[in-house]
């Protein structure tokens, strides 16, 4: 209630008091003023209640939204973590299988190297060397060649003259093959080179393995796991 309103209403009320019975009228005025004040108080209380409800609703909504965000975020994070960890475990499992396959292929190659080394002591080694020398000499196009043997004993077991003739026939070039005195560190096989050392063919077992390692792996894998 403003001061102007209060002042005006007082003037009006005083006028009425002068006209009618004073006490009675004051009571009437009192009733009206208090009633009005109580009405206003009720309105204020009602509005406060309304505001209270609205505020609670707003906070409930805010909380609900925030809660939903947290729940969704937490769920997504946990699901994502699960996907990631499962993928990691699957990858690890796959790697275990791949590593195991790789071990078996490597084991095969190592055993094969052992077998190849064992061949150097066998009777058939002379024939094997002959083939390796002929192959290398032919790829060099014949001519004056030197062959270097891995290991001992094999030098005498190979008829280089016969091989040279075959190479000569295949290449059309006069061919001589002499034995080189160099030491060749290898499990087996030979190195053939031009006498002047300009071109070399490495036909040691290790070099031959290296050249066809991809094919060896594929073939071994087919046999082992096919």
């Amino acid at each position: 209630m403003s001061k102007i309103e209060t002042a005006e209403s007082i003037e009006a009320k005083v006028e009425k008091i002068e006209v009618t019975g004073e006490a009675d009228r004051i009571r009437k005025i009192e009733k009206r003023i208090i009633d009005e004040a109580e009405d206003k108080a009720k309105t204020i209380a009602k509005e406060a209640e309304k505001t209270k409800k609205e505020m609670l609703e707003v906070k409930r909504k805010e909380g609900g939204l925030e809660a939903e965000k947290i729940t969704r975020g937490g769920t997504n994070e946990a699901d994502s973590l699960k996907r990631q960890k499962t993928a990691e475990a699957r990858l690890k499992a796959k790697q275990m299988i791949i590593a195991s396959r790789e071990d078996l292929i490597n084991e095969t190659i190592e055993k094969s190297k052992g077998k190849l080394h064992g061949l150097t002591e066998s009777e058939e080694y002379g024939g094997i060397l002959g083939k390796l020398i002929e192959e290398g000499a032919t790829s060099l196009g014949g001519g004056e060649l030197v062959v270097i043997f891995a290991g001992k004993g094999s030098k005498t077991a190979t008829d280089l003259g016969t091989i040279a003739k075959r190479v000569e026939k295949l290449t059309g070039n006069k061919t001589t093959i002499n034995v080189g005195q160099e030491n060749l560190k290898s499990i087996g096989g030979v190195v053939i080179r031009k006498a002047d050392g300009s071109v070399i063919v490495d036909n040691t077992f290790e070099a031959r393995i290296d050249r066809i390692i991809r094919d060896i792996r594929i073939r071994a894998a087919k046999i082992l796991f096919g």
Partner: protein, 103 residues
């Protein structure tokens, strides 16, 4: 006349007080509502955090179990692979040896 005026002023004053009290009470109600609202909001957020935390724990248990199963199966697969390959390795060695010597 003066007494009446004073009486009315007194009444007006009472009326003003009634309104002031109502306004004060209303402020108090609003303040309380604000606090209550914050409490409700906080509770909802706390509940959501707990729910998210429980969900995460549940998923972690699932992860642990499933990963153990995956790795256990992989180990069994490795054993089976080696077992199968062991009977074939001799054949593979012969083949590789033949490839190297050019047979």
């Amino acid at each position: 006349m003066v007494n009446a005026l004073e009486a009315i002023r007194g009444i007006e004053s009472r009326a003003e007080q009634i309104i002031k009290d109502a306004a004060k009470k209303a402020e108090s109600v609003k303040k309380k509502a604000s606090e209550e609202g914050e409490t409700v909001k906080k509770q909802l957020i706390d509940d959501a955090r707990n729910e998210a935390s429980e969900y995460k724990k549940k998923k972690e248990k699932e992860i642990e179990k499933e990963n153990a199963e995956i790795l256990s199966k992989a180990k069994k697969d490795v054993v089976a692979l080696r077992s199968k390959a062991s009977s074939r390795i001799s054949n593979a060695v012969d083949t590789v040896t033949a490839m190297v010597i050019g047979d």
